[in-house]
């Protein structure tokens, strides 16, 4: 299923984001995160993405990112999301 990520995603809301994602991963096999409203991520969010991605790989599930802006791509690269 597709989730539209809130434009204000960041350390202040990361806990909520994390808990929601955790719930979803219990049910869904594939999650698509739509980042079209998001201008930038902070490290706390990227960490959640990295950890979630690892988790999915283990369980044969998948997390995909959609509408990733250039800035965010660069951020993901810098934060090691693509190793």
């Amino acid at each position: 299923m597709t989730i539209e990520v809130n434009e204000n995603i960041g350390v202040k809301t990361v806990k909520k984001f994390y808990l929601e994602l955790k719930e979803l991963l219990k049910k869904e096999a594939e999650i698509i995160l739509d980042l079209q409203n998001v201008k930038r991520l902070d490290l706390s969010v990227v960490q959640v993405l990295i950890a979630a991605n690892r988790e999915c790989m283990k369980n044969n599930k998948s997390i995909k990112l959609k509408s990733v802006s250039k800035d965010i791509k660069r951020q993901l690269y810098l934060a090691g999301f693509s190793n």
Binding site: V14, S44, V46, V68, G80, F81
Partner: protein, 715 residues
């Protein structure tokens, strides 16, 4: 396997040496011959590195071979970028072969080069090449991922002036709590990389917990980044200003290894033109300086500046070519290990020689004389042999000096000072090992001069000095020693401050009179620093004592002269050779010792009134208006001696770093060449002994460490 590697190392070094000028020539001539030759050399490197089991190197040279093959086949053109790739590849191969710093510099360069080679093979140029390594999209992300490097590329294409850039390695470990107070480490990393171009970034994710157990409000990622930047290190450091309490940041400038090798080759052309009187030294220096800043070729610059005509440059290049060919055909490679072995054998010969000399003493009459004169003849031959042997190990100090140009320029910039480095005596030859060990102390002294010695531009203006400060590096031979000077035209050392500090530390009393030389020698004491403020680079009170230790290890001496307002000179005096010294053999009781001849001033038998005891200084001998501390060697080594009264025995006056000493001995046996044998560490812990030598009769004589002795007595 190990043997194979050694052979390969030698071979590779030779190939590289010949290849580099070939590549430089290729740019001008674009000749198919040169292309072929480079191709063959790279091919050889590939083959032999594979044989030697160096797979990384083999793979790299394989890529390079493909590239050259394409050039040979005519599908790729020779242009500046290609030459850069080739030259940089030579640098990388050289570093890889030498095994220098595998983790940082070589890795950076390799990644860069491989991606450049790929781009070149694909496009025939670098236009489509992404300078930031593109990353692979993860299987889990299907969105296409391309590094956004539009902002970075503009700086990357402008790489004509490589020397303006530095490479930095930045390691950051953030505290888990760093998110608190609104700090986003990612924003800091973004700030950081906006200052340059990333060559490598490794994100350490090992501490990141499983998704299940993740506390999303804590930071678990750390970075290890290598980047190229045109900014000073301080600017890089500034990025982390607000997270100093929340992180451990290590920033190192790792540029140094990059630029040195290429200049050597270039300098040779200048030397040829110098020797042909086409240009003079000043012109050459100017060209070299500009070359360093502009990255242009030296031949080009000479014509540009009107120092030489096209033909002159061309003929010099041809000459250079000839020299190269000559070297190629008439030289062989010898490992330093073999030379060391020869030197050891020579040592044995010298010992044997003195054994014969000693045996001759037991013979009577004409025969003895014949033996003695024969041995003396042999002595001349072995000396000449030794000089030649040492000559093989000697290399000019020039390249070592040259590499400091860059250092001075960069460091001066940090301190906002205008400093020119002047080099004299670049052709002076020193033992290879000595040159290697000189590097650090020189660097430290130069740094010291830049930081403390040379005044700020305003201060120079005020005192009416030339605004361009100068640092001189000079080397010359004199009386069997090598001298290396580091001189600046700065403010000079503040004697009063040194004195005050020395008093504070209890080295001297307020009432003591002390010569400048002795006073300055305190600067070499551990922990001695008069710097009021801790500078970025030096002045932490460490360093000068390390300089001294390094020089001591080379059995050299160092002294400081300084004149207020005029500048400071550090003079390092080194023996020409390391393993064999001229020594004076002396006797105390039944024991023999060696005093290095270089230290001896004179030997005297003092009169009664010239020996006295002075409070605070102990026993002294009055020599030419000066009190010199007397050391009774038999007391020092707790042995029996013939004499206990210095007025009956002999006193040898020796000169050390920080003053003179009088050594009381029973007898001077004579002067001879002394072969220094390495000793186990127990013995050398004794500050009075620097080594041992085996004498003709098979007995061991200990070599006195004059500087160690002086250090013990004076402090």
């Amino acid at each position: 396997m190990e043997g194979l590697r050694e052979i390969f190392t030698g071979e590779a070094q030779e190939i590289l040496q010949n290849l580099e000028p070939e590549i430089v020539n290729l740019e001008e001539t674009k000749s198919p011959d040169a292309v072929n030759k480079i191709f063959r050399s790279v091919h050889t490197l590939k083959g032999s590195s594979g044989m030697a089991g160096l797979m990384e190197l083999s793979e790299f040279t394989h890529k390079l071979e493909n590239l050259m093959d394409a050039v040979r086949g005519g599908s790729l053109q020779v242009d500046g970028d290609l030459i850069d790739i080739l030259l940089n590849s030579m640098d990388w191969i050289r570093m890889n072969v030498a095994g220098t710093d595998k983790s940082d510099v070589t890795e950076t360069l390799k990644i860069q080069l491989l991606s450049q080679i790929d781009a070149y093979m694909q496009n025939g140029n670098l236009s489509g090449h992404l300078q930031v390594p593109a990353y692979n999209s993860l299987s889990a992300i299907n969105s296409e991922v391309i590094a956004d490097n539009t902002s970075v590329k503009s700086s990357a294409t402008d790489n004509s002036d490589e020397t303006a850039y530095r490479f930095y390695r930045i390691k950051v470990v953030f505290k888990e709590s760093v998110f608190r107070n609104g700090i986003d480490p990612l924003m800091i990393i973004e700030d950081l990389v906006s200052l340059g171009r990333i060559s490598r970034r490794v994100v350490d994710k090992r501490k990141l917990p499983d998704f299940e157990n993740l506390d999303p409000e804590k930071c678990f990622l750390n970075w290890d980044i290598i980047m190229r930047s045109g900014y000073d290190i301080s600017k890089i450091e500034d990025t982390f200003i607000f997270v100093r309490d929340h992180s451990t940041v290590k920033i190192n400038d790792i540029t140094e290894a990059f630029n040195a090798p290429r200049n050597l080759e270039v300098q040779k052309l200048g030397e040829i033109m110098l020797s042909k009187n086409i240009i003079n030294k000043q012109e050459l220096d100017k060209v070299l300086e500009t070359q360093k800043q502009s990255g242009k070729k030296i031949a080009e610059l000479m014509i540009e500046k009107g120092y030489a005509s096209d033909e002159e440059v061309k003929s010099a290049l041809e000459e250079q070519d000839k020299i190269k060919k000559k070297i190629e055909s008439s030289s062989i490679r010898v490992s330093t290990g073999k030379l060391d072995k020869l030197l050891n054998l020579l040592g044995e010969i010298i010992i044997g020689q003195s054994a014969i000399m000693r045996a001759a003493e037991g013979i009577e009459g004409d025969e003895a004389e014949r033996v003695v004169s024969a041995v003396n003849g042999l002595d001349r031959t072995t000396r000449e042999f030794q000089e030649n042997l040492m000559g093989i190990r000697m290399i000019p100090i020039g390249p070592t000096f040259e590499q400091f140009r860059r250092f001075v320029r960069d460091t001066a910039k940090i301190f906002n000072k205008d400093i020119k480095l002047v080099i004299e005596g670049a052709e002076t030859e020193l033992d290879k090992t000595v040159i290697e060990k000189l590097n650090d102390p020189l660097k430290h002294m130069i740094r010291n001069s830049i930081d403390h010695g040379i005044e700020s531009t305003e201060e120079r203006k005020k005192s009416g000095k030339n605004l361009n400060a100068e640092i001189f590096l000079k080397a010359y031979h004199q009386e069997g020693s090598v001298y290396v000077e580091v001189r600046d035209d700065g403010r000079g050392i503040d004697k009063l401050r040194v004195r005050k500090k020395a008093e504070q530390l209890g080295f001297i009393k307020h009432s003591d009179e002390i010569s400048d030389e002795n006073l300055f020698s305190f600067l070499f004491m551990p922990g001695f620093s008069t710097a009021e403020k801790v500078g970025d680079l030096s002045g932490r009170g460490v360093g000068m004592d390390v300089v001294k230790t390094n020089i001591d290890e080379l059995r050299g001496t160092i002294k400081i002269e300084s004149e207020k307002g005029r500048g400071t000179v550090f003079t390092i005096k080194l023996p020409l050779t390391l393993a064999i010294i001229d020594g004076m053999l002396i006797r105390v009781g039944e024991h023999k010792y060696v005093i290095p001849l270089l230290s001896i001033v004179e030997s005297i038998r003092p009169a009664k009134k010239e020996v006295k005891t002075i409070k605070g200084q102990g026993e002294v001998v009055y020599i030419r208006g000066q009190y010199v501390s007397l050391i009774r060697l038999y007391e020092l080594f707790r042995i029996k001696s013939e004499y206990t009264d210095p007025c009956n025995s002999l006193v040898v006056i020796v000169e050390a770093n920080n003053g003179m000493l009088a050594l009381m001995v029973d007898e001077l046996i004579g002067q001879q060449q002394i072969v220094i044998k390495s000793m186990d560490s127990e013995l050398t812990k004794n500050r009075a002994i620097s080594g041992a030598s085996i004498l003709g009769d098979g007995k061991i004589a200990l070599i006195l460490d004059i500087h160690g002795l002086a250090g013990d007595v004076i402090h």
